[in-house]
Amino acid sequence: MRRSAFALLSVTLVVSVVSGCTRGDSNYYGTVEPKHGPDEIWSNLGPEPEYIDPGKSSDHTGGTVIINLFAGLLQPHPATLEPMPDLAQSWDVADEGKSYTFHLRPTTWSDGTPLTAADFVYSWRRILDPSTASKYASFLYPVRYGEMFNSRAVLVKGLGSATEADFKVLVEKTVPVDSLRMAPELDGAFVLVAGDDDARGPAREKLVRALQGASWSGHTLSASVVTSDIVAVRAPDPLTLVVDLESPVPYILNLLCFSATMPVPRHVLERLASEKKSTDLWTRPEYIVSNGPYRLMEWRFRNYMLLEKNPRYWDAAHVRTQRIRWNMVESYNTILNLYEAGELDTIGNTANIPAEFMDTLRTTGDFATAPLNTVYFYWVNTKAPPMDDARVRNALRLAIDRVSLVTHITRGGQVPSSDIVPDGLAGYAGLKSPVFDPERARKLLAEAGYGPNKPLPTITLTYNTSEGHKQIAEAIQAQWKETLGIPVEIENQEWNVYLRNLKSHNFQLARLGWVGDYPDPFTYLELLTKNSGNNHSQWSDPRYEDLLRRANLKTVKSERMALLREAEARAVEQAPLIPVYVYTRSELTKPYLMGDVINFENRHYLKYWWIDKRWYDGVPTTRLDHGFPPRPKQLMAAGEAN
């Protein structure tokens, strides 16, 4: 009986694989006739989003919802991600790239309330307000004083010509100092107090009490914790938004396409507050008001969301589909089943095709793949011997056979890479460092003094529990053993434990993926700066930081890119992290679903999606054009727009 059960199982498996490929057209996976009308699309959102509030969201699903419900100053081209005007019709740049004036088009929220520049001022100050507790607040740190407000800095004014050193002595008499920032333009300085979470609040109060009204070297001081007014974003009139930056940010227009910079409806939040309701409720379907291509009509927890075209979106004429249903299915196998049966038009942007299906699905007309802005790498703890020696780190980097790894282990078409920045990102020519150089690896290890007489002590490679990461770690373990003859132990940890060990530097080598925040090399290179907050390697290098700083002061793109390349080359050789590959994204999309392409950031813009109606009558012989807008002119680069 047991045996016949297995026979049944294998028969059904065979039946399903065969039927999956033969039903409909032999080139496609499952049905190819839409199960719904042409003004509707069924997609899969994936896991339930944490927040769909632009000011609070920090997860990918939340971001996907926000970019489709809301509109910001700019929007990216759906395929190339180059910034294009959205609410901002045009903008002026002044003060050597440190001041931007955006001219908004007259638009309204989905309830008809006019949307003004003041909404942006409110929204940006809200996300920077530490009491909003936004995990992505740092996205707006380029705005002048944004970081000071978000860090609850104490601003001491009336310093005159006092030096930083003198002032530091004065402050440290009262409280321990984390950092000081002189602000001569304000005749003062910002103080960030040091201490534990529950000690900093009282310390700030103590500092304010001590310095407010105090007289010091002939000056009368004033001191207060900064408030939102200090953030340098203003609305001189309802359609003009002026933003001052801390320093020129060459990728600012890309940042302004990001969900965190989108406006929130102040009037709705304030109404909820006046009704004594939690303002967190504003994103529920019964209250939500948005300004983007779609409106949220229904939201069932971990079940589905229903969107309907927002007739008040300024560019509604170009939104092609009336209704979107986003299912929230998490299991990849279930998603594939639903897709095969035609209950989903696309597997969505969070589902991954399981490796065992790859070879079969790759040959179907539904399959598409493209590189992503995400790098798979290992952090090296550069303070833990023997990895405090750059030669050892570099030897480890060079001794990974990445081509073999992606061909035999990961199998998803990942791009083997030994660089920090993915090649081709926003016009950046990658370093293309050798992805496997066993000769040089052995030589470096010998130079570091390790060899048959003095073997390298056992090193431990840690990864967060996952079958995929395990296979990669095992392959690298074997490769290092073979190429360098070094003993490697691998160890897995549950995600939360893993993150804790990573942050407390309790590791030797630890896996991580890094998703670029914006299409610019700096989003990867910044990771290795001393103050990035995400640099777990404990590596810091003044020359590297200097190159980056100089690069971002350059207004000519080619000069900037050259300096960034120099910085990257420095970091690659120092190897505080060991890159393995650049992720790729593989998706299944029904042939009748148009306008849904994979871009570098894995962001999917529903406003471009539409159904090719010819598929209701059978399989057409030609493919239509997606109908994307033309690529924006290169004038869009910072400093050159008018």
Partner: protein, 305 residues
């Protein structure tokens, strides 16, 4: 009888309290934090996040607060889905899980008791061997195998039922069959064993001697005694079915509470973990009480004082 029930109900309260205190401390012992993320969170933001959930207070104070709120029916806030309370989460997911659980239970009882009776009264025949072998397979076949096989047959090969999702009763069939079958198999074996114990007992012989028709003997006399082990098993089984199954609800994308506990534990979503612990232990305690009471009806020898 009534006094017994009331006394037992009151006795549940300290038991539940002990469960709450122990689980609260155990989950907080787990390393990590609900706000852990790859990306660094600004320090002052973290301060406000912790304050929002009261994690800035000493642990004993948090425990007292939790128990105090729990007594008023407030299960706290989720850290993973921050604009929902745990009460919201359970209210959102419980209806789907309950519907699925009840259908699975009905299927399990129908199939299990039916097969068990046939197995017992046709002992050592082809019927008996056939059903009991099937039951053995049913117990051994994990839901993550049975579920996909059913989907392959009924949703992808012949499209008679949707492969997953939620909406109407067609969506309940496959997950309920998947979930209920293992229980059905176990119930079949218990029923058969229970029936065989009473089949040669004096009261059945008496009934036969009185010339009662066979179906009256089986259903009125044998079943009442024979089902006692099944009823014992049904207490915890029902409680488990009513809080759902991670595997089945993930395979069929059922928007129920089944995956909450495991997901919340990974996310260190403390109050959700606690909420599910409270829910499941309450179900379990109440079900066991119902089982004890049911003994009184099933077995004439048991009396409650």
């Amino acid at each position: 009888m009534l006094r017994f029930a009331v006394r037992r109900l009151l006795g549940l309260i300290p038991t539940l309290l002990i469960i709450v205190v122990v689980s609260f401390l155990v989950i907080r012992l787990a390393p990590g934090s609900p706000f852990a993320s790859e990306r660094g969170i600004p320090p002052e933001v973290l301060v406000d996040l912790k304050a929002k959930y009261g994690f800035d207070r000493p642990l004993h104070e948090q425990l007292v607060n939790y128990v105090w709120r729990l007594m008023r029916g407030d299960l706290g806030l989720s850290t993973k889905y921050p604009n929902r309370t745990v009460n919201d989460l359970i209210a959102d997911g419980l209806p789907a899980t309950l519907l699925l659980g009840v259908c699975a239970l009905a299927w399990a009882l129908f199939l299990g008791i039916g097969a068990g009776i046939i197995g017992a009264i046709r002992q050592n025949t082809g019927w008996d061997y056939g059903f009991m072998t099937l039951a053995m397979v049913g117990i051994s076949l994990p839901t993550f195998v049975l579920g996909p096989v059913l989907v392959l047959i009924f949703a992808l090969t012949v499209y008679v039922l949707p492969p997953a999702g939620w909406g109407d009763l067609r969506h309940v069939v496959l997950p309920a069959l998947t979930l209920g079958t293992a229980y059905a198999a176990y119930i079949a074996r218990l029923t058969r064993a229970g029936m065989l114990e009473v089949v040669r007992s004096d009261f059945v012989r008496t009934a036969r001697a009185k010339g009662l028709p066979e179906h009256t003997i089986v259903f009125r006399h044998m079943l009442r005694g024979g089902l006692l082990p099944v009823v014992t098993y049904l207490g915890p089984a029902t409680a488990h079915l009513l809080v759902g199954s991670v595997v089945v609800e993930k395979i069929f994308a059922t928007p129920g509470i089944g995956p909450y506990f495991v997901d919340a534990a990974f996310n260190r979503d403390y109050f959700v973990v606690m909420g599910i612990v409270v829910l499941e232990s309450s179900f379990l305690l109440v079900m066991n009480l119902l089982v004890d009471l049911a003994y009184g009806f099933m077995d004439p020898r048991i009396r409650y004082e």
